[in-house]
């Protein structure tokens, strides 16, 4: 129950952070007209609502409103408060217009409000964590399921089809590569790709002839997993980042997913290996249910119990990785405000404890509750 409330609060911060901490007021009256600036932003961009010129200066703190209802934290993460430059402590005397405008978590070196950045951090950490684990989960369940369901012995195809399959995969990769190389606007390559897919389907429907052999799917996937697992996560991430000229958050998400899918896949594989030998699966196979349906409807729901646990732990790992990246200042797009980047500033300004304590506390609480949740799920499963 406590955990649920905590996660709901965190989600609230992540989704509505921009309405809690924003330099734009919730409601204001200016030159006799009423505005709801934080809600009107998209409409202004579309041109449906017109704002006075003062609003477009992006200096919301100094506009002489007639009436105003500010947000809870009247600063955006990027807002630079020129009156409180240079690391104002939360307890220090701050040069603000009033109680409401105080920087409750202090300011950083260039006068940005730490509380606003802290609230933004929720969205970043949760977004990166959730999306990367989502992608990692899709890849991991697919690969692990494939390896676990077929194993080394159950993907039985005729020998000639196995050879054609290998040959076909190489060719397919080649054509896809060429499509990317020519930006997809070369007709002959697209025709070749079509022919290739046609050949694939043709061979697929061809009758089975000659001896059968088992295609070692499990061995191949386990090899890939083993190779990725041998590289420590942070090293893996940092080794891939120099390939990208201007890293964006999307790249970071994909890279974290690339690291995290192996853990999920290993577990899914083990579960599938266990469940596929159970009697009800054999019965299902006897009735003639297709392999896909057996995996989807009968094995996966059974396996998910323990997969959720890994999700919780992987989520924690992804958030920690994101914090590492922000802290080391590598890989994140320039100017991204996250807990890690706030903590990084302490290295240059050792006395600014508020830049370390609050972001760290948030990371700690989230990691702790995720561990707790994992533990709970574990006891539920066993």
């Amino acid at each position: 129950m406590k955990l649920k409330i905590f996660f709901l609060t965190v989600l609230f911060f992540a989704f509505f952070g921009d309405w809690i901490a924003n330099e734009k007021p919730v409601y204001c009256q200016f030159e006799g007209k009423s505005y709801f600036p934080i809600f009107e932003v998209p409409f202004v961009k579309l041109g449906w609502i017109d704002w006075p010129a003062d609003f477009k200066n992006e200096n919301w703190g100094n506009i002489p409103y007639e009436k105003v209802v500010k947000t809870l934290v009247p600063y955006s993460p990027e807002t630079i408060d020129r009156k409180n430059l240079g690391l104002k402590s939360p307890f220090a005397v701050q040069n603000t217009n009033g109680f409401w405008d105080r920087h409750w978590m202090g300011t950083d070196r260039i006068g940005r409000d730490v509380l606003a950045g802290w609230i933004r951090g929720f969205r970043l950490a949760l977004g990166i964590g959730f999306l990367s684990i989502f992608i990692a989960g899709l890849v991991g369940i697919f690969m692990g399921g494939l390896a676990g369901f077929y194993g080394n012995d159950r993907f039985n195809i005729p020998v000639y089809k196995a050879f054609v399959l290998l040959f076909w995969i190489i060719g397919f990769v080649y054509w896809i590569y060429l499509v990317f190389e020519t930006n997809g606007n070369n007709l002959s390559i697209l025709i070749w790709l079509g022919i290739w897919i046609l050949i694939g389907t043709l061979v697929y429907i061809l009758p089975a002839m000659g001896n059968r052999t088992s295609f070692p799917i499990d061995w191949i996937i386990s090899l890939i997993i083993q190779a990725i697992d041998a590289i420590p996560a942070l090293f893996f991430l940092l080794a891939l980042l120099p390939l990208i000229k201007n890293p964006t958050l999307f790249h970071v998400i994909i890279l974290i997913a690339l690291i995290r899918w192996t853990g999920i896949a290993r577990l899914v594989r083990a579960e599938f290996l266990r469940i596929r030998d159970l009697e009800y699966i054999q019965a299902a196979q006897l009735i003639g249910i297709t392999n896909f349906l057996i995996c989807w409807k009968h094995i996966l729901p059974n396996a998910m119990g323990s997969v959720w646990i890994t999700f919780a732990y992987s989520f924690a790992g992804a958030i920690l990785l994101e914090a590492y990246l922000g802290y080391l200042g590598i890989g994140m797009p320039a100017g991204t405000i996250s807990w890690g980047s706030q903590m990084q500033q302490v290295r240059e300004n050792p006395s600014a404890w508020w830049l370390a304590v609050f972001p760290g506390l948030a990371i700690f609480l989230i990691l702790f509750s995720l561990q707790k949740m994992g533990e709970k799920l574990e006891s539920k499963v066993s």
Binding site: A227, I231, Y324, P350
Partner: protein, 467 residues
């Protein structure tokens, strides 16, 4: 047993080989080009004169560095590509010629066109600097850097006065442009033509060097990477080794005590505390310890952020053990507490699992004393997974130690890695990743083999499953 070992080790070697192939290609595609750096540094400024001139310098440098060879054992390119496409080295030239080739499909023609451009440039470069030659140099810069034929054609235009001295070359280029614009690759020239490049390729020589222990030279300061690593490894080993030792020293007795003591509400609280300790990010704690607790106002002055080089100079642990250990205390503490927390609850769970085994009940009914029960019968069985566990956590430990080393300014492997990363010294970075992954993989396999050797149940199940 032997077949299991052979299988396991051969897959390990295979996966390490796959990693090294991947790392090699990553290194080749990283944003920093070693040949480019070298040719800029060694060409006395002639590199910057003109793209067509720098191409020549670049190619010479690639030959000198022995990099004008195919990348891998085999290549699969469309049939229109020549066998010797890798001989084109300068990245800009590769980009333009590849595009032209993909658009026209006639390698001989593309080649003649570029030769014509180079010949033109050489003639312009030989003549005295004047408005005409400067104009054509600029135009040539445009021509060399674009694969858009109409743009090249536009660049060829100029007043008759300008064109007159070079009219032959210009006519030749314009003729070639016309030919190029009519060409399109035939349908069948898109088919792949796999080629075997033989052993004289870049990967082969890189890999055989690594096998012989030569992991390369830093592209930043020219020092062998191995020398850098040699200085860094002891620090990382000290910090990690001490952390593991401390964690075990704490976890063993506490874990056993928690398993033995009767269940109470306190135990739940301690468990929660351990979980919190485990979730506490070490880099946060390290950060705060370093910047808040080492300030002289608080009275902790035993740690100094620049103290590492002094220690190194004066001989480390043997000559002055106490300052050495004091200096290490903060980072080791940061590394150790999370591990200790995890190990404690792990120890507790394995120990209580062992205590619930039927053979323990049997021993109890026989009337063995408690001490004998716990330490003779339960401990060896509970200890085994613990020891095997160490190898499994090495990757996580190394990852954690990177950040700790950066925070505490320890000149260890992690900081070396981050420093090379920030100075874009990718030779060091990738050799490093390879080394760490070899260590990790070996650690994992040792733990696996230990497990199999010591526990016949696991061995049998694995042999039966043909893993």
């Amino acid at each position: 047993m032997l077949t299991y070992l052979v299988k396991r080790i051969s897959t390990l070697l295979l996966s390490l080989w796959i990693i090294s192939v991947c790392l090699f290609f990553l290194q080749k595609n990283a944003t920093v080009d070693v040949v480019m750096l070298q040719s800029k540094a060694r060409s006395n400024g002639s590199f910057y004169v003109h793209p067509l001139a720098s191409e020549k310098v670049y190619r010479a440098e690639a030959v000198r560095l022995n990099l004008d060879r195919p990348l891998f054992y085999f290549a699969m390119k469309p049939a229109m590509f020549p066998d010797t496409f890798y001989k084109i080295q300068y990245p800009e030239a590769v980009k333009v010629q590849k595009k032209l080739l993909l658009a026209t499909g006639d390698w001989a023609l593309v080649q003649t066109y570029f030769q014509a451009l180079t010949a033109f440039y050489e003639k312009v470069a030989l003549t005295k600097n004047g408005p005409v030659s400067i104009f054509w140099k600029q135009q040539l810069q445009e021509m060399a850097n674009t694969s858009d034929l109409s743009a090249v054609k536009a660049a060829c235009k100029g007043s008759d006065e300008m064109r007159k001295p070079y009219i032959e070359e210009l006519r030749k280029i314009e003729g070639l442009l016309d030919l190029l614009s009519y060409q399109t690759p035939s349908f069948f020239s898109w088919l792949p033509s796999p080629r075997w490049n033989g052993y004289d390729n870049q990967f082969h020589s890189w890999f055989s060097k690594i096998i012989h222990g030569d992991i390369g030279i830093s592209s930043r300061d020219g020092r062998p990477v191995w020398d850098k690593l040699e200085e860094a490894i002891p620090w990382t080993l000290w910090v990690n080794g001490l952390a593991i030792l401390l964690a075990y020293l704490f976890a063993m007795p506490v874990g056993i005590l928690m398993a033995i003591l009767p269940k109470s509400r306190w135990l739940g609280w301690i468990n929660n505390f351990l979980l919190a300790l485990y979730a506490l990010p070490a880099f946060w704690v390290g950060n705060m310890l370093l910047f808040q607790a080492t300030l002289p106002e608080y009275g902790f002055s035993f740690f100094s952020i620049s103290g590492w080089s002094n220690l190194q100079r004066e001989g480390g642990f043997l000559s002055q053990p106490i300052p050495f250990l004091l200096q290490l205390s903060l980072p080791v503490f940061c590394m150790a507490y999370g591990l200790a927390a995890y190990l404690t609850s792990y120890m507790q769970s394995t120990f209580s699992k062992v205590l619930n085994e039927p053979y323990m009940l049997f021993a109890k009914t026989k009337g063995i004393s408690r001490m004998r029960l716990y330490f003779k019968h339960a401990l060896p069985n509970a200890l085994l997974p613990q020891i095997v566990f160490v190898a499994g956590i090495i990757p996580a430990l190394i990852t954690g130690s990177v950040v700790i080393e950066v925070i505490f300014n320890i000149p260890g492997m992690g900081r070396l890695f981050i420093d090379s990363m920030l100075s874009q010294d990718f030779t060091t970075v990738y050799s490093f990743v390879l080394l760490v992954s070899v260590l990790t993989a070996v650690g994992l396999i040792i733990s696996d083999i230990l497990l199999v050797v010591t526990d016949p149940r696991i061995r049998l199940s694995r042999e039966n499953r043909n893993e």
